[in-house]
């Protein structure tokens, strides 16, 4: 049963992709219908898979030789992420019906989205590290193709290529990890390693651990690879919601969570993970304070929230991190889709050109505010519970300075969230244009997500038992929802955090009176606007490479004599090497 469902979850979107592509751009209605049908079907299959979880391998295809056994496992972690990918994927597809209405090359769009959904499901469901790498690359490829979807726009193309190259560079870390695993154990099945990390030489294990951290940081846009995600916002907004908020960027967190039992013993690894998460969380929270592009603010906040999850893993809170991932997928997809409805109707992403949109778009405002409250960590929305769990884990198991920084960024989160809501929906109107509220298909996608943001925390108990039952190595305790709630409410961390969040809100309220403070931190905002120099470093590396390439071109002189000279130089070099080595 489980094996059939896995085939369906991965295969249905891919078949759908092919059919949409074959349908051709002249039959757009057929394309819309096909895309919805196949994504929803895959979502249903994934939900059905929730009731068939186990920690044993359910599919095993022998690819032979150096390609190993293509294995799939439907354990809790995998199935939960597959559900997120397919369900939010279906909602994004439904949202696209209105959002992408009248776009050219719709076939390419839907085919890539569906291909992505299947790839993401495969990425989490497989237990073969090589196969995981395949799916990893597939998701990167789809993300690239969709960021560069409007490829008449040089910014979109540049953003796409940047995302592709950075995630691919990170992919090298995963590739090295897979190669090391295979050369050590003769198989790519990582569950063996997770169950017993001792089978691998400690030095090799440490190489794998840090390789995976690099891969995860690149994929989840964590420090120091965070620069690609804001640029990826050139993608159509449903894509930002699906790929760059709810699913693909979580792959890095998933990777760390998956391998946590194996790597936690590696010296320095957990500290490195904590550092990566903390720096990402705080830096991008500051950047979100000063950004004026609506989608960029959301992108920075995504990086920041992913930082929370990474931090939680570093502190040993796998459950907290996954629960926050769950909440975040819902409220961030909601925020992005609602932002998409705003952008679609206003026609700009610059928040300075918005304002007072609330009256004209009541429904959008309503859901956006719900998402924002969840993001800011206001009780009783889902973001509150999961963020508190993360902070609690940090207080209990992490270093205190890291916890302090995480608290600070919780405050900042509240601040920039309210700034964003105010700039978009309240304040003074900045344009006389008539805007319309979300269209029907958009509503279909927004309302379930809003409901999710309000209520998904009720699933905390079942979620923990799901992870507990099928992930023996992760040592996650099964607790009921009430226990979770009690734990959160009883912990002092919660009240500290709430106080900080309230401080952030007060700071926002009293922003006029805080002019002096803002002035004092002028240098910080200036640095944040320049993304703390990371863009410059990126540009420098690109310039260096291109410069080297340009310099190297002079070696191809086009003069025959030099070509012959090259021949002789090689001859001399080789003969000298051989004579010296004997």
């Amino acid at each position: 049963m489980a094996s059939i469902l896995i085939y369906l979850v991965i295969g249905l979107p891919w078949i759908g992709a092919l059919l949409v592509w074959l349908a051709g751009d002249k039959r757009t209605t057929v394309q819309h219908i096909l895309a919805i049908l196949f994504s929803v079907a895959s979502g249903i299959a994934a939900v059905a898979l929730l009731f068939n979880t186990s920690s044993t391998t359910v599919i095993n295809l022998d690819a032979g030789g150096v390609f190993g056994q293509f294995t799939f496992v439907a354990d809790g972690l995998a199935v939960f992420l597959a559900v997120v990918a397919t369900v939010i994927g279906s909602l994004a597809v439904i949202f696209s019906v209105d959002y992408m209405h009248g776009e050219k090359s719709l076939g390419r769009y839907y085919a890539m989205v569906l291909f992505f959904i299947g790839g993401m499901a495969g990425l989490v469901l497989t237990s073969n590290l090589l196969l995981m790498f395949f799916f990893w690359e597939i998701t990167a490829l789809c993300s690239y193709a969709l960021i560069a979807f409007h490829n008449d726009d040089p910014k979109a193309v540049a953003g796409g290529i940047k995302a592709l190259i950075i995630t691919q560079l990170g992919g090298v870390g995963l590739l090295a990890g897979a190669l090391l695993l295979f050369s050590q154990t003769g198989s790519y099945d990582f569950n063996r390693m997770i169950a017993d990390p001792g089978i691998i030489d400690p030095r090799i294990l440490s190489g794998m651990a840090f390789g995976c951290l690099v891969a995860a940081a690149a994929k989840s846009a964590q420090f120091p690879f965070q620069t690609w995600l804001p640029d990826a916002m050139e993608a159509p907004t449903p894509i930002s919601a699906l790929i760059h908020a709810a699913t693909m960027v979580n792959a890095g967190v998933y990777l760390l969570a998956r391998f946590f039992p194996a790597f936690k013993g590696v010296p320095g690894w957990t500290t490195a993970v904590i550092l990566v998460g903390m720096i990402s969380a705080i830096l991008t929270a500051i950047m979100a304070l000063v950004a004026n592009d609506l989608k960029r603010v959301l992108a920075y906040s995504t990086v920041s929230q992913l930082g929370y999850m990474v931090f939680a893993i570093g502190c040993g809170g796998v459950y907290a991190s996954q629960f926050h991932l769950f909440s975040h997928s819902i409220f961030k997809a909601l925020l992005f889709l609602a932002a998409g409805a705003v952008i679609h109707s206003v026609g700009t992403r610059d928040m300075r050109q918005m304002g007072a949109l609330g009256k004209q778009m009541p429904l959008t405002r309503f859901v956006f505010v719900i998402g924002s409250l969840a993001l800011a960590g206001i009780p009783v929305l889902n973001g509150f519970w999961s963020k508190e769990l993360v902070l609690e884990a940090g207080l209990q198991h992490g270093p205190i300075w890291a916890y302090a920084f995480m608290l600070l960024s919780a405050g900042l989160t509240a601040f920039y969230t309210f700034r964003m809501v105010y700039m978009v929906f309240y304040g003074k109107p900045s344009s006389e244009k008539h805007v319309h509220d979300a269209q029907p298909a958009m509503k279909v996608a927004l309302i379930p997500l809003a409901a999710g943001a309000l209520l998904s925390w009720l699933l905390a108990g079942p979620f923990s038992s799901l992870l507990h039952n099928s992930l023996p190595a992760h040592e996650i305790h099964a607790i009921t929802t009430t226990e979770v709630l009690m734990e959160v409410l009883a912990a002092p961390a919660t009240y500290i955090a709430l106080a900080v969040v309230a401080l952030g809100l007060i700071a926002w309220w009293q922003r006029q009176h805080l002019g002096g403070v803002a002035h004092a931190f002028r240098w910080l905002t200036a640095a944040a606007e320049n993304s703390f120099g990371f863009e410059a470093v990126n540009a420098g590396i690109v310039r260096l490479t291109l410069g080297a390439a340009q310099k190297l071109r002079t070696t191809q002189t086009g003069l025959l004599n030099w070509n012959i000279a090259g021949l002789l130089i090689a001859f001399i070099a080789v003969i000298l090497i051989l004579v010296v080595r004997g």
């Binding site: 003069l559 025959l560 004599n561 030099w562 000279a565 002789l568 130089i569 001859f571 001399i572 003969i575 000298l576 004579v579």
Partner: protein, 160 residues
């Protein structure tokens, strides 16, 4: 002794072939080089190949060179060599210095005196028949290509 003389002649001809400015003269020096090579091959005990080298290398190829040079014409010699002569010298000396050094042991080999000179034909046709077949292929390919290279281009335009 004769060997040494011929060797000196070959080297002289080779140097002259690259030194002289007029291309026709260079082609003729090359012919001389070829003829002396043929002589050397004869002394090495390869009379048949010497004859062929004489007729093909010194004869046919020279004729072709003269033809080609006639069509192309002598260009005014350019003074500036394309790459600095010093670099060129360095490369040649380094490469063939090491090569010659490595091959010093070859000089200590005793060469047996030739008693009789066997007929080459049997060896060529029997032992290395495949090479001979391939010579035909080579000639065919070469001829095809040369026809293509030298045939007039004008017919194409008329067809197109």
């Amino acid at each position: 002794m004769l060997n040494a003389l011929i060797a000196a002649g070959i080297i002289l001809c080779a140097i002259q072939a690259i030194r002289v400015k007029k291309l026709i003269a260079a082609a003729l020096w090359l012919a001389g080089c070829s003829a002396l090579t043929a002589l050397m091959l004869y002394l090495l005990g390869a009379p048949e190949i010497a004859v062929i080298e004489l007729s093909v290398g010194a004869g046919l190829v020279t004729v072709l060179f003269v033809f080609a040079i006639n069509i192309i014409g002598d260009e005014a010699p350019v003074r500036m060599p394309a790459i600095p002569p010093l670099v060129a010298w360095l490369l040649v000396i380094l490469s063939f210095g090491t090569l010659a050094y490595l091959n010093l042991p070859l000089l200590e080999i005793e060469v047996p005196t030739l008693v009789t000179i066997p007929m080459a034909a049997s060896s060529i046709w029997e032992d290395r028949a495949l090479d001979v077949i391939l010579q035909i292929v080579l000639i065919f390919a070469g001829v095809l290509g040369i026809i293509n290279l030298i045939s007039d281009n004008s017919s194409r335009e008329s067809k197109a």
